[in-house]
Structures are given as structure tokens and as C-alpha cells.
């Protein structure tokens, strides 16, 4: 599938992080919590009106602001719930 911004991925979908579009600061900040290219990410939910996006990486759940989430480019996996959020 075509890479898209994390904010455009559906809640409940899984994907692989392709790249982070941003400067050194934001890349480092995201990386410190394990958000970096090549990692699988599941989107759990997002708040209304461009509020924070909730994701799951490995065993960690994170909330990140909409602007930050938009910088994360992901490639969604084909089958919805292929690896399900809970499984």
C-alpha cells in the first residue's frame, strides 16, 4: 500500500513506519520512545478535532499530538487487523 501520514491511517489498522519527516530534534524525540523507521505501529484511536493520536508499539502505548503524528509516514498493512491491536 501507498505510504500515508499516520493521521490518515484508520483506527485499528497496523502499519510499518517508513520515515519521519522532520528535523533532528523531532526525530530524536520520537526515537527515544521507539518511534523510528522500520518499526510496526498500530493506531488505536484518535481524539476529535485533530486531537492526540493513540498508538501502540510493541508493548508501549503512546499519545502524540496531531502535528507530530502527521510527520510519521506509515505504510498500512493490507489486511485490516492482520495483527490486531490486541493480539
Amino acid at each position: 500500500m501507498k505510504p500515508i501520514e499516520l493521521t490518515k491511517m484508520q483506527s485499528g489498522e497496523n502499519g510499518k513506519i517508513i520515515s519521519i519527516s522532520g528535523g533532528y530534534g523531532i526525530i530524536k524525540k520520537l526515537e527515544a520512545l521507539g518511534i523510528r523507521p522500520g518499526v510496526d505501529i498500530a493506531k488505536i484511536s484518535s481524539q476529535l478535532m485533530k486531537g492526540p493520536v493513540i498508538v501502540k508499539l510493541g508493548n508501549t502505548r503512546l499519545a502524540l499530538g496531531f502535528g507530530m503524528a502527521r510527520r510519521i509516514i506509515v505504510e498500512p498493512y493490507d489486511k485490516k487487523d492482520s495483527a490486531g491491536v490486541y493480539e
Binding site: K28, E31, G34, Q47, R61, A63, G65, Y86, E87
Partner: protein
């Protein structure tokens, strides 16, 4: 191996946020520190001591950090402490690693291994990892990293003894890697040591998603917030009417009465210790002696609410709900130039503004810290003050309490929006780990409540006694009357309060609870009580909070903040005087 080893003088507990460093600290030292289930509980380091082979070693509980490249003041503190310890060459690092998040935690570990300091690893939350189907081959991990790895369950104390007894096996890392390749290396390590069995999703995980999903989360949050309020009032009032008031009325009153008789009911000593007798009897609220009002206010009127508040807050903290509330309120907090996690200092401030002011350190930028600290000082009354406001206005119900809270909320919002517009700079977005829900561990929770109550008793009672003393002094020297005359235009004309309220406003600099208590004998009308309660909250922080804010914000920002407070208190007080 190094034959001549320096004696260990200091242990640093370093690790990611919310991995249990503070719990391990308490286990090691017996010193009670606040540990909670959200990242960033420890914003200031705490020190304690542990006895080890006839030596006393200092233990430092370092604020959590995800990496050695800090992004917030709390993380800067962590890196500074580490750098200092490296220079002194007499310290050991206990790197606390969350076994349920090995990969992310190893990022910090690998950075630490490059530092010139001996390290030992505590693989904490071992039971939780096991529970969710993660097993880690500690032997293999130890082999790969080249340092000792000990599984621990801090909350029950498992593994802590071994951790101490093997402290002198700590050694400098020998793991070689290129910085660019760090994550790649971590991946290689994790692949070799970690196996994940079938993960059964817990009920907590489902609950977690329900409480942050907007459609379900917001109703749940509203219910929880109302519940908090109801439970605090219920516990607080019950403690007062069934325990604390009877103690004062039936046990303490006769004692003080005897003393009063002994002193013939008059004289300077009588005035200072017992105060004024009202109709020949002691009135704990109004007599205003050190042994009457001076003890009654902090112990019988305020302490019950402080206990109630910290029971509820500690439960919320340990369950892991606070970060979820932060996420739900994130969008709203952006209105005032903050992000969701700023609710943590606000909630702490509701207990006491001092920890609230310290809690602003979880915020990344100076601008956010200024806004958060100012908003808290202006519009968040501390529990001590609230308890007294409940006492004064509670009998009017919503008619009395409603206008106070509504006004403070509107002030919070408007002051926040104005600051957000006028202060330059942007606010960073929320970026926070959401901890799993955990059932609070009852023993640890009570201990934490006790630590906080002890702080309160320790800090509040001397100040209240001092306040009572000063009031008596100022009255007898005629200073209050003098100040009353000077400030009459403001107090009478603008705020619509009687001249005598000036005494309360003066003592409000020292202790807010006592200040509200001083309104009691003035026989104020409902309107005046509302205005006085609001103005007392807003016009200035108490001296303890002021000192902390001064330290956190610096001189210039503190002056700005103080001007905002005094200015808005006068405006809001006058407006209330006009419209109520």
C-alpha cells in the same frame, strides 16, 4: 578485573520514566518518596541512605529519562546528576529497566554503557512481563551486555536484597557499538534474549482503550471527576464530624479551659495561648489563640480534607488514569497554551500549590511552565483553603460554592487564553507514554498518603501557628487598623468587604486556610464571603508557594506572574462586587 576498586559512595537510580525507580528507592532507603503510575512523578531528585557492608551509601532517585539527550528540565536534572557522578568516580548506577518494554528501555541502557561509570541492571516489573507472556533470558542478557542483570519486583521487594548484595559486582560497560547502529544493536539483543508467548489481552487493556476513546472516554471522565468531588467531600466531612471535631470538643476543650482558668482568663499569655473567650467559652474557630484556633484550623478543619484528597489523588495516580485524562483534555488545554499533561501539576496544585509548582517541570518549554505556574497560583485553590471555604460556604450549598468555583474556572480560562495570545512562542504537543492500568497496591498507597500528610503537618502547622501569633501581634500593635485605613478605598469600595478583612488578606500571604478562617468572626454576608474566597485564592500565592515559584521561574517572571495575580484579583473582585 579492576583490583583496586574505589569504595562506593553513591548509587544513582537511573531509568526510563515510570519503571519503578522511586519504589526501588523506597525499598532501599526506607525513605518515603512519591511513586505513581505515570511518567514524570519524580521531577526533583530525592536522596536517602542504604547500609552496605558497614558503609553508609547515598542513594539518589533520579528523574526518569528516555535518553541522555534531555528534552525537559526533569530530564536535564537526570543528565546533570549522572555527569556529576561520573566526575566524582565514586558512584554506581542501578539502571532500572522495564521488563515489559525491553527494547525501548535498552536504548537508555546502551547509552549508559558508554559512560565511564559502573552499572548494574535491575530488570523490574518482572512479574508483569511474565503475566503478559514475555520471558527474558537474563543470563544471556547479562552475557551480551557485560554487566550484572537482576530481575526485580520492586513493589513486593523481590530481588532487592540480591541487588544490594551484588552491588560491588557493578562494572563499566564493555559493549561496543556505533551510535548510528544503536537501534540495530538493540534489535539484535532483544531477538536473542526475549521470547513472547501468546499474549492474552487483559481486561485492563480493553478498559484502557475505552477510557481514551473520545466517545466513551469523555463521559467516563465526567463521571470520574464528579465522583472525585463527592468522595472527597464525603470522606472529609465524615472525618470532621465523627473524629476530629469530637476530639477537639470533648478531649481538648476541657484541657484548654483548665489552662484558661489557671491563667485567670486574661493577660498577654492567655491571649496568645488561648485567645479570646467567646461568651466565656472557647470557640475554636474564633478564639484565635495558638492552642485553640492555631491547632484547630490545621488539624480539625483542614487535615481531614487533606487526607481525603490525597487518598483519592493517590488512587488515581497509581491506577494510571491521569495520563488518560490528560489525553482527553489535551485539545482544551491548548486553548490556554498548554498540552494535556499540564493537568498533572494542576491536580497536584489542588492538594497543595507547592508540589503543583514543582510539577510544572514535566512541561518542556519555559513558556508553558510560566503559564501553568501562573494559572495554578491564580485559580487553583489548595485543599487547605478549600477545606475552609467548604466550612464557610458549605452550608449555602451550590448557591455558595457554585459562584466561587465558576468564577475561578472562568478566571483560569480567560487568564490562560490571554497569556496564550500575548506570550510569544509556541507550545509543544503532548507526547506521553500511556502506562498500563494497575490495581493500586494498597500498602504502597497508604504509605504515599502518609508521606504527603506528614509533609502537610510538617509545613502547615508551624506556618499556621506563626500566622496566629502574627495576627495577635499586629492587632495589639494597632498595625491592622492602620493598614485597614490605608487600604480602605480598595477593600471597601472596590471589593465591598469590611475593613477588618484586611487582616485576612495579610495573613493570606502566609497561609490561605488561616486567612479564610479569619473571615468567620466578621459576620460576612454570602456575597462578601464569595468575593473574599475568590480574592484570597487569586491575589497572591502563600509564602511557601511563592518561594518555590520564585526558584522555578526566576525573579523577572515571578514579578510578571505576581502582577497578573494582583491585577486580576482586583478586577475579578470588583466585578463580583458589582454583579452579585
Amino acid at each position: 578485573m579492576n583490583k583496586k576498586k574505589n569504595r562506593i559512595k553513591r548509587i544513582l537510580l537511573i531509568g526510563n520514566p515510570n519503571v519503578g525507580k522511586s519504589v526501588i528507592f523506597s525499598r532501599l532507603t526506607g525513605v518515603g518518596v512519591i511513586a505513581s503510575n505515570y511518567p514524570g512523578t519524580t521531577v526533583e531528585f530525592s536522596k536517602g541512605c542504604v547500609h552496605y557492608k558497614n558503609d553508609k551509601i547515598e542513594v539518589i532517585d533520579v528523574p526518569g529519562t528516555y535518553s541522555l539527550e534531555p528534552t525537559s528540565p526533569a530530564e536535564e536534572v537526570a543528565v546533570d546528576i549522572l555527569k556529576n557522578a561520573i566526575k566524582k568516580k565514586d558512584s554506581v548506577v542501578i539502571n532500572v529497566v522495564d521488563a515489559t518494554n525491553l527494547e525501548r528501555n535498552l536504548n537508555l541502557t546502551l547509552q549508559l554503557l558508554k559512560m565511564d561509570i559502573p552499572i548494574i541492571i535491575a530488570l523490574n516489573l518482572w512479574d508483569e512481563a511474565h503475566h503478559i507472556g514475555i520471558s527474558i533470558d537474563t543470563k544471556k542478557l547479562q552475557e551480551l551486555l557485560g554487566v550484572v542483570v537482576i530481575p526485580t519486583i520492586a513493589i513486593t521487594g523481590e530481588g532487592i536484597k540480591e541487588l544490594i548484595s551484588r552491588l560491588d559486582e557493578a562494572k563499566k560497560g564493555s559493549y561496543q557499538y556505533e551510535d548510528k547502529e544503536r537501534w540495530h544493536e538493540i534489535g539484535k539483543i532483544v531477538d536473542q534474549v526475549q521470547t513472547i508467548r501468546h499474549k492474552h489481552h487483559t481486561i485492563f487493556e480493553k478498559l484502557s482503550d475505552l477510557t481514551i476513546h473520545p466517545w466513551t472516554g469523555i463521559p467516563i471522565a465526567s463521571v470520574i471527576l464528579i465522583l472525585i468531588f463527592v468522595v472527597i467531600r464525603f470522606i472529609g466531612e465524615s472525618l470532621i464530624s465523627y473524629i476530629f471535631e469530637p476530639i477537639f470538643d470533648y478531649l481538648w476543650q476541657p484541657v484548654v479551659m483548665q489552662l484558661s482558668l489557671l491563667l485567670n482568663g486574661k493577660g498577654i499569655i492567655h491571649d496568645i495561648l488561648v485567645g479570646e473567650l467567646i461568651d466565656g467559652k472557647i470557640d475554636f474557630g474564633q478564639s484565635f489563640g495558638l492552642l485553640t484556633t492555631g491547632l484547630y484550623v490545621p488539624i480539625a478543619a483542614v487535615l481531614p480534607y487533606v487526607i481525603a484528597f490525597y487518598l483519592v489523588l493517590s488512587f488515581l495516580e497509581d491506577s494510571g488514569y491521569l495520563p488518560r485524562l490528560a489525553i482527553l483534555l489535551d485539545k482544551a488545554m491548548h486553548l490556554v497554551g498548554l498540552h494535556g499533561m499540564a493537568i498533572v501539576p494542576m491536580m497536584l496544585g489542588l492538594g497543595c500549590n507547592v508540589p503543583g509548582a514543582l510539577g510544572t517541570r514535566v512541561l518542556e518549554s519555559k513558556r508553558e511552565r510560566f503559564i501553568a505556574a501562573t494559572l495554578m497560583a491564580i485559580a487553583i485553590p489548595c485543599m487547605a483553603q478549600l477545606a475552609m471555604v467548604f466550612g464557610l460556604l458549605g452550608k449555602y450549598g451550590v448557591r455558595g460554592l457554585g459562584p466561587v468555583f465558576l468564577t475561578l474556572f472562568i478566571v483560569w480560562l480567560i487568564a490562560g487564553i490571554l497569556m496564550n495570545f500575548t506570550i510569544k512562542g509556541e507550545s509543544p504537543e503532548i507526547f506521553v507514554e500511556i502506562p498500563p492500568y494497575r490495581l493500586p497496591y494498597f500498602g504502597a498507597l497508604l504509605k504515599k498518603v502518609w508521606v504527603r500528610i506528614r509533609w502537610f503537618l510538617h509545613d502547615a502547622i508551624p506556618f499556621v501557628l506563626l500566622g496566629v501569633f502574627i495576627v495577635n501581634l499586629l492587632y495589639s500593635l494597632g498595625i491592622i487598623e492602620f493598614l485597614g485605613k490605608i487600604t480602605a478605598p480598595v477593600i471597601i469600595n472596590l471589593l465591598g468587604l469590611p475593613l477588618k478583612a484586611v487582616a485576612a488578606l495579610i495573613i493570606g500571604f502566609l497561609r490561605k486556610d488561616l486567612a479564610v478562617g479569619m473571615l468567620l468572626p466578621l459576620g460576612l454576608s454570602l456575597k462578601q464571603l464569595i468575593i473574599a474566597s475568590v480574592v484570597l485564592t487569586m491575589y497572591f500565592p502563600c509564602v511557601a508557594t511563592f518561594a518555590i515559584l520564585f526558584k522555578e521561574l526566576g525573579f523577572i517572571d515571578m514579578m510578571k506572574s505576581a502582577l497578573i495575580m494582583i491585577g486580576s484579583a482586583l478586577i475579578v473582585g470588583s466585578v463580583l462586587n458589582l454583579i452579585l
